[in-house]
């Protein structure tokens, strides 16, 4: 053993530098790519890849971003396209776990320029990401099997409720339903499937996606909404004010000239505005912390949203 070991030592010496070289070559390549892409600047905005506005998202989140053929389409996609158009570049979309989007890791590590993932603006996320102005009002909604007796938060005690990992719906459920068993799912699809198969008794997630799912599946219904005043924002890396301001300009211009409404109608079938005032009033009431008023306003907002 001893003696053989000594003999074996030599090839190791031969091979180790070869490997070091290989690794160095890999590192060198990518560093080169890194400096190349660092040079891609449009109007003072640094982009990670030349001629491209790279967007991080988590697929699918219909109708905000989902696959259609070989393309990613959706409400968020169209909005970011407006920004890309304004910069005179093309949008490229990268699918990545939602955790690394909302923690800011994807933006910090230069995986993408913008995060557009139907992402609610929260104080925690705001610490790691800089958000654009809000571009969408969302509420949390409760989806149950069609034959369920559950009508609101009060009926959930002792039941199993599905939530999606790293979402505001999960936070809301944790804060507001004390005695239900929360089951966390990685994807919205797994969450909705869990309701269908009876794995859970209900699911809480953003209203946009649950309404969309319930509209396509007769065996589930959205029974109520919780007006949490959630608002979606586009994320950029902390302190990337040039890009953030440019996005805000584009969003404001689009809302001004009707392009935003057109995109909204394309994906939701309605024009924003009709129900928006009522919703934001509810939201403020909720922010004040009066949980009882939730129950009353739920009925209202359910009606407006379904119209």
């Amino acid at each position: 053993m001893e003696r053989r070991s000594r003999r074996i030592f030599h090839p190791a010496v031969v091979l180790a530098p070869a490997l070091a070289l290989t690794l160095a070559a890999c590192g060198g390549d990518s560093e080169g790519a890194g400096t190349d892409s660092g040079a891609a600047t449009v109007d003072g905005i640094e982009l990670i890849a030349e001629g491209t506005l790279t967007t991080c998202t988590h697929l699918p989140y219909e109708p905000f971003q989902f696959r259609e053929g070989d393309e990613v389409v959706g409400f968020d996609v169209d909005l970011v396209d407006l920004v890309a158009e304004d910069l005179g570049v093309e949008q490229a979309i990268i699918d990545t776990p939602f955790d690394t989007i909302q923690s800011g890791a994807d933006l910090d590590t230069g995986k993408c320029d913008v995060a557009a993932a139907a992402m609610t603006i929260t104080p925690e996320r705001d610490e790691n990401i800089d958000f654009s102005d809000p571009y969408f009002d969302a509420n949390q909604a409760l989806m149950v099997p069609a034959d369920s007796d559950v009508a609101g938060l009060d009926d959930l005690s002792g039941l199993r409720v599905a939530v999606q990992a790293s979402t505001t719906g999960k936070d809301y459920a944790e804060e507001n339903i004390a005695d239900a068993e929360l089951v966390t799912y990685e994807d919205s699809g797994l969450l909705t499937a869990a309701v269908q198969t009876g794995e859970v008794d209900a699911a809480i997630n953003d209203n946009g996606i649950l309404y969309d799912f319930a509209a396509n599946n007769d065996d589930v219904v959205v029974v109520t909404e919780f007006p949490t005043g959630d608002q979606y924002g586009l994320g950029v890396q902390s302190d990337n004010d040039v890009l953030r301001e440019r996005i805000n300009e584009v969003l404001a211009a689009a809302q001004e000239d009707g392009r935003y409404d057109a995109i909204y109608e394309k994906w939701f079938g309605t024009v924003p505005g009709d129900s928006e005032d009522a919703d934001s009033d509810d939201a403020e009431g909720d922010d004040a912390g009066a949980d009882e008023t939730d129950e009353e306003s739920e009925v209202e907002s359910t009606e407006t949203s379904e119209n």
Binding site: S5, R6, I8, A12, L15, C26, S30, V72, T100, T109
Partner: protein
């Protein structure tokens, strides 16, 4: 009843129980639901051709990248582990324990998030996949190779050395080729494991064109609200792994003859024996 009859009866009862269990299982299952959920032909048809051209292709590509690096690095680590120089042994030992002990997912996150934070540089995505898979694979492959090298009869080294070969040449031309024949089955195992681990490339982010099988299937599951894509990508994994097993078994048969058990040139290898 004779012993033979009893054995036959016993076997018959076993078959009956087996059949009864299968029938019970088949009766208990909700076939309509299963068909709707898993065999939705419309959904399945929509997955083609990209499930093959993109997803399957990428899975193979990533696996080959990872296995390539893993094999190279694993060989170096194995030799380091067997080295008489202490620090080499320690480095290899620590490396192997570290990467063999961590879930591959953490390694992917470390490569995707850790490297850019630590060195302020972003590797090309294919390089990231290769590095992450290679780091994990190398730890296992190193142990496999070490075991293989140690399994080559000592007489082989002695014979080669007595023919005047240098230690390095002995290792490269005599020991390692024989070791590879011995470790072919566990190595195939490792390649199959890496093929499945390539699904973790998801943590590095991907465009639609970069999706591998598992991510493709998961996304399609979410989009279509059907389990059918999971079944389809499952079959695609088997398309890779089952032929791999056959190839490996074939190679084993061909090479196996050369190893110690039955020397190619009888007498030649035995002369250096104990």
């Amino acid at each position: 009843m004779s012993k033979r009859q009893r054995a036959r009866l016993f076997r018959g009862v076993q078959y009956l129980i087996l059949i009864a269990a299968l029938v019970a299982l088949a009766l208990a299952a909700d076939w309509g639901q299963i068909q709707r959920a898993f065999f939705n032909m419309e959904v399945a048809a929509n997955l083609f051709p990209s499930v093959i051209t993109v997803a399957l292709g990428n899975t193979i590509f990533y696996s080959v990248l990872g296995f390539g690096l893993g094999l190279g690095l694993g060989l170096v680590l194995a030799l380091m582990r067997l080295s008489s120089v202490g620090p080499y042994r320690w480095i290899a030992g620590i490396y192997i324990e570290f990467f063999r002990g961590l879930p591959a997912m953490l390694v992917f996150l470390a490569v995707g998030v850790g490297i850019p934070y630590a060195f302020d540089t972003r590797l090309d995505r294919n390089v990231q996949v290769m590095v992450a898979l290679g780091l994990v694979g190398a730890a296992y492959i190193a142990e496999t190779i070490r075991a293989g090298i140690q399994a080559v009869p000592k007489g082989q080294i002695e014979a080669a050395r007595s023919l005047g070969m240098s230690p390095a040449r002995t290792m490269i031309t005599v020991i390692i080729p024989q070791a590879f024949r011995i470790i072919l089955p566990p190595l195939t195992n490792e390649l199959i494991l890496l093929t499945k681990d390539s699904s973790l490339a998801f943590f590095l982010g991907s465009t639609l064109a970069q999706q591998e099988l598992a991510q493709f299937g998961r996304e399609a599951l979410n989009t279509n609200q059907s389990m059918t894509p999971v079944l389809v990508v499952g079959l695609c994994y088997l398309i890779i792994t089952i032929p791999l097993s056959f190839v490996s078994r074939g190679l084993e048969k061909r090479f196996g003859k050369g190893v110690a058990r039955k020397p190619v040139k009888p007498g030649a290898t035995r002369s250096g024996g104990q």
